[in-house]
Structure formats: C-alpha cells, structure tokens
C-alpha cells in the first residue's frame, strides 16, 4: 500500500510527518500491524510488520465472550492487581521464574 498517498487518511500536514505506530498503520488500511522497537549497540531500531489489506480475511480474532462468570473469591487480591495501572509492567514476564521447576537461568 502506498503510505504516502494514503497518509491523507490520518489528516497529516505532509507525508513525512507519518509516525509508524500500529494504530496509524491500521488507519491506513492494514488489517493488522505491529511496531516494535529495540536497541542494538546504541542504535534504535524499529520492526514494522503488517498484513496486507487483501489478506484481511485471514485475521480472525475470537468474538467477545458473553458469559457472566464471577472469578472465585480466592482471586480477590489478584483482581485488585489486574485492575491497577502497573498490571502489565513486566512482573508477569518474571513470574514464571519463581514457579516450581523453573529453569534457574534463561536458556
């Protein structure tokens, strides 16, 4: 897709103002997009991955669940954490390290 031609969809003052984030790429018509940054020897790099519009039918999320199921009361303390602002702050990634049988070091 010609992002320059389509940058008008984002109401940008000029095409060079295009900032590659997944939300903007979706606004340009890509049905799925991810933008991930990483540092390599002091250089900031960005990996942009998109699914082309003609493959939109291959993107299949599940429908919104609709059952009213209450978590058990034993989860109450955890629930407060899940609703907090730092829920996805990185603790989950290390949670496995403390579980029984976990590898002491990353493989």
């Amino acid at each position: 897709m010609d992002s320059t031609r389509n940058s008008g969809a984002l109401r940008l003052p000029s095409p060079d103002k295009l900032h590659y984030c997944a939300i903007d790429l979706k606004k340009l018509g890509f049905p799925e997009a991810s933008v991930v940054g990483y540092s390599d020897h002091g250089h900031r790099n960005t990996i942009v991955t998109v699914v082309e519009p003609e493959r939109a039918a291959e993107i299949r999320y599940k429908p919104q669940p609709s059952a009213h199921i209450s978590p058990p009361t034993e989860w109450n303390d955890l629930s407060k954490i899940a609703e907090g602002p730092d829920f996805l702050g990185g603790g989950i990634l290390d949670y496995g390290r403390g579980l029984p049988g976990a590898l002491a070091e990353r493989p």
Partner: protein
Amino acid sequence: MDYARQILARSDNAAARALSAIVLMNFSSEDGAWRALVSGLRDPNSLVSVTCLQALSSLSTYLPRNVDWRPSIPDLVPLLHGTDLFGFPFVLKALAATRAAPALAGPLLEHGGARLVIAYLGAGHEEQRDLAHKFLADLAGRDLGSSPTAWEDWIARL
C-alpha cells in the same frame, strides 16, 4: 485450572480473563494451560491478549516442556497468518520451547501459513531470524539452514 480456562474462554469480564491467564501460569505442567494461553492471544481485548502474550513468554523462558498442540490448530492457523502480530513472535517462541511436533508442519504451514515465518527468517534482526529458524527446524525435524529458499522448497513439498 479448568475454572481459569473457562473464565479465559467465556467470561464477559476482560479483567477476569486477564487474571485467569496469570492463574494458568501455575499449571505449566498441563498442556491445557498452554493451549488456553495461545487461544487467549486471539482475544478481542488487548489487555487479555497482552497478558497471555507475557504469560506465554514467561513459561517458554523458564518452564519449557513438550506440549501436544494438535487441539490448538484452529487457534494457531489464524495466529500464524497474522492475527495479533504483537503476539506472533511469542507464538514462535512457545512452539519452539515446547517442541512442536513435525506432524503439525502441514496443518500450520500450508495455505499461506508460512508466509510470515519466512519473512521473519529473512528479517534484518537476528532475534526474529532465530525464532523462525528454530520453529521451522522443530517442525521439519531437521535443520535446512538459514536461507528462506531452502525452507520454501520444503514447505512447497508438504
């Protein structure tokens, strides 16, 4: 574990679904926990899918084990086609960490399922290349090297 799986799959409460993903991390010895987390990557709510992504990454790093992924083919096919692209590298990581069986190669890679994997194999970033390479080598049961062409030839013969 069954209750956590039920909530993750069916509850209308996104926070509860995200919470259930963390609860499932305590059941890494059960194939069903891994499968539920992979299915959660296709959740329509990003809080849930990102939680599942992080949970899968953590289990893949610290608690790798063999998993029978055959029941997850209906989830894995759309994920390998690009559903939840943020989760895509973590799908490759989880399948490699759990030694996805060669019998899955056809169902997962045919009909365009390998397109993104091959793109990763040719990526400029080493981490992406390594994820794709290890995933393909597990599915093939042998290593055809780092060239996308060799793997494309192999996939064409599946």
